[in-house]
């Protein structure tokens, strides 16, 4: 494992006890420090199972998963994985533990046994970056869905993890809430945090450095978001839907109004549409 590698999947397979089919099969994947990687796939493709290995919530049935250079099978490796990787899940309601905003954000740092001043400092930082600093004493039930999801992010990042995994965390948000959350993620990425976005919405991967596509538990494609959009109809085969702008571009290419091969600029597309 190289120095700039935060997590490594080495021939990882995992089967749930209640299922005869493996959820993920022979996964080989490196996650580099500071990278923003998207894991894409339709429902049941194994992307959430993959994500849970990074936080050692799941341990491979076969193969090995390393976080911070340690195998997550060992107690030390599991502790390292929990310290290194924080997770935000789909439904914020099920991950908020305390009844008051700042008390919930403090839950993770309190578990780490930090000094009270350090906890308060981290809570203040996490609330500020999540845009919730004015709501620190609000009861959780008074927050909107988008605010609750930002609170879940604040709770995760207050542990100051080098890596944050977002497991379909935007699914229950409206477009405004989704955009607010993407802004928070962009801010965290600019501070050097490694991000793993688990999603089936291709609009959310535009800011990512790289992406992998899972289908039936296997990695079937890897590359950059730009390369992925160039694939056109193959995206649909994996149960994904390209963003509207990419679909429009494909129509223009098919009609010969614009040249294939590269993603066009918005201006070129508008010009082609006017023609």
């Amino acid at each position: 494992m190289t120095g700039d590698c935060l997590g490594r999947f080495s021939k990882v397979s995992f089967s749930y006890p209640e299922s005869s089919e493996p959820a993920i099969v022979d996964i080989d994947l490196d996650i580099r420090k500071g990278e923003w990687i998207a894991v894409l796939g339709s429902n049941g493709s194994g992307k959430s199972t993959l994500a849970k290995h990074l936080n050692a919530l799941l341990v491979p049935t076969q193969g090995d998963c390393f976080v911070g250079g340690l195998n997550t099978r060992s107690d030390e490796g599991r502790r390292e994985a929990r310290r290194t990787v924080s997770m935000v899940f789909q439904n914020p309601e099920n991950q908020i533990i305390a009844a008051v905003v700042e008390e919930d954000v403090a839950f993770g740092p309190e578990n780490l046994g930090l000094a009270p001043e350090e906890i308060r400092e981290r809570v203040r930082w996490a609330l500020e970056i999540s845009g919730l600093e004015k709501m620190s004493r609000k009861p959780v039930y008074a927050l909107s869905g988008g605010q609750k999801q930002r609170l879940a992010v604040a709770g995760a990042i207050a542990q100051r993890p080098p890596c944050l995994v977002m497991d379909e965390a935007t699914t229950m948000l409206d477009p405004r809430g989704r955009q607010d959350l993407m802004d928070v993620l962009a801010a965290l990425h600019s501070e050097g945090m490694t991000l793993v976005t688990i999603t089936h919405r291709l609009e959310e991967i535009l800011l990512c450095d790289s992406c992998v596509v899972l289908s039936r538990g296997k990695i079937c494609w890897r590359g950059t978001p730009g390369d992925l959009f160039l694939l056109g109809p193959r995206i649909d085969e994996w149960g994904l839907e390209a963003p509207a702008i990419v679909r429009e571009w494909k129509i223009l290419v098919d009609r010969g109004l614009i040249g294939p091969g590269t993603m066009p600029l918005i201006g070129d597309m508008v010009e082609a549409l006017c023609q």
């Binding site: 919530l57 929990r82 991950q95 908020i96 533990i97 305390a98 009844a99 309190e110 906890i119 039930y141």
Partner: protein, 270 residues
């Protein structure tokens, strides 16, 4: 189904007040003193004194009176039921009779006393949760029970269970309301018929609710594990509990008040 939205029982209302900023341990002990005092009270002067005491602490807490009243709303039926039982089933000097139903002077007296006593118990207990966040409450209880840890008493686990239970009251009420609306939309009739019929009609609400509760518990456990929770060992607090002179003063005043009311009752009792 609107009533579920109005339930504030067990919900913390953050306000910047002297009562809110007290150490949770002093509030818990003071509440126990108040509840014991209310439980022992027998005469109208006693009820009046505790009533005035409650009005005083509510005004110091800066919580709106309407909120206090609405917080006790869920138990009004229980209070009314208890009062009615005492009204009709206490033997004594009859003041009114109609068929087999008979109201006695003693029954009337007991109904009023029990109703008032229950209402005050609910108000004092509710006031504690309205002014103390579940986390503070849990920290306070854990600290008070900590001497029992050496005998294997799971103080932290109980406190954490209580925090989560209080945190999920509004969530589960919303969930119940959602299921009820979904069942009504599919033709269920939850409001008509006798108690037995209503109870039977409620089963299709309870079954999915139980499934959801277990699913949520599973997800919550995963989320807690992901946030490094491994039990109480080694945990620290953002705001460590600090017992101040004010806490001692408040507790002493409450205790003195309870003793004074009790002595006053004894002197005035015939």
């Amino acid at each position: 189904m609107k009533f579920l939205n109005n339930m504030t029982l067990g919900q913390y209302v953050p306000v910047d007040s002297q009562i809110h900023s007290l150490d949770p341990r002093s509030k818990i002990i003071a509440t126990i003193v108040c509840l014991t005092g209310v439980f022992l009270v027998r005469e109208p002067y006693g009820f009046l004194s505790w009533g005035l005491f409650f009005v005083l602490i509510v005004s110091v807490s800066r919580l709106p009176g309407s909120l206090i009243i609405s917080s006790s709303r869920p138990v009004w039926i229980l209070i009314a039921f208890t009062s009615v039982i005492h009204l009709f089933f206490t033997k004594g000097v009859p003041v009114f009779s109609w068929g087999i139903l008979e109201i006695t002077r003693e029954g009337l007296d007991m109904a009023v006393r029990m109703g008032l006593r229950l209402l005050m118990l609910v108000l004092f207990a509710g006031f504690l949760t309205l002014t103390t966040s579940p986390t503070e409450l849990a920290d306070g209880l854990e600290s008070l029970f900590s001497p029992l840890k050496r005998f294997g008493f799971p103080a932290h686990e109980l406190a954490m269970m209580m925090t989560i239970a209080l945190r999920f009251i509004p969530t589960l009420l919303n969930e119940t309301e959602r299921i009820m609306k979904a069942q009504i939309a599919r033709g269920a009739d939850l409001d008509r018929g006798g108690p037995l019929r209503r109870l039977r009609a409620f089963i299709p609400v309870l079954v999915p609710l139980f499934v959801i509760v277990f699913q949520r518990a599973d997800d919550l456990a995963t989320a807690m594990e992901a946030r490094n929770y491994t039990g109480g060992e080694g945990r620290t607090r953002m705001y460590p509990l600090r017992w101040s002179v004010t806490d001692s003063g408040v507790l002493m005043l409450t205790l003195l008040f309870a003793i004074a009311v009790s002595l006053l009752e004894k002197r005035l009792m015939p």
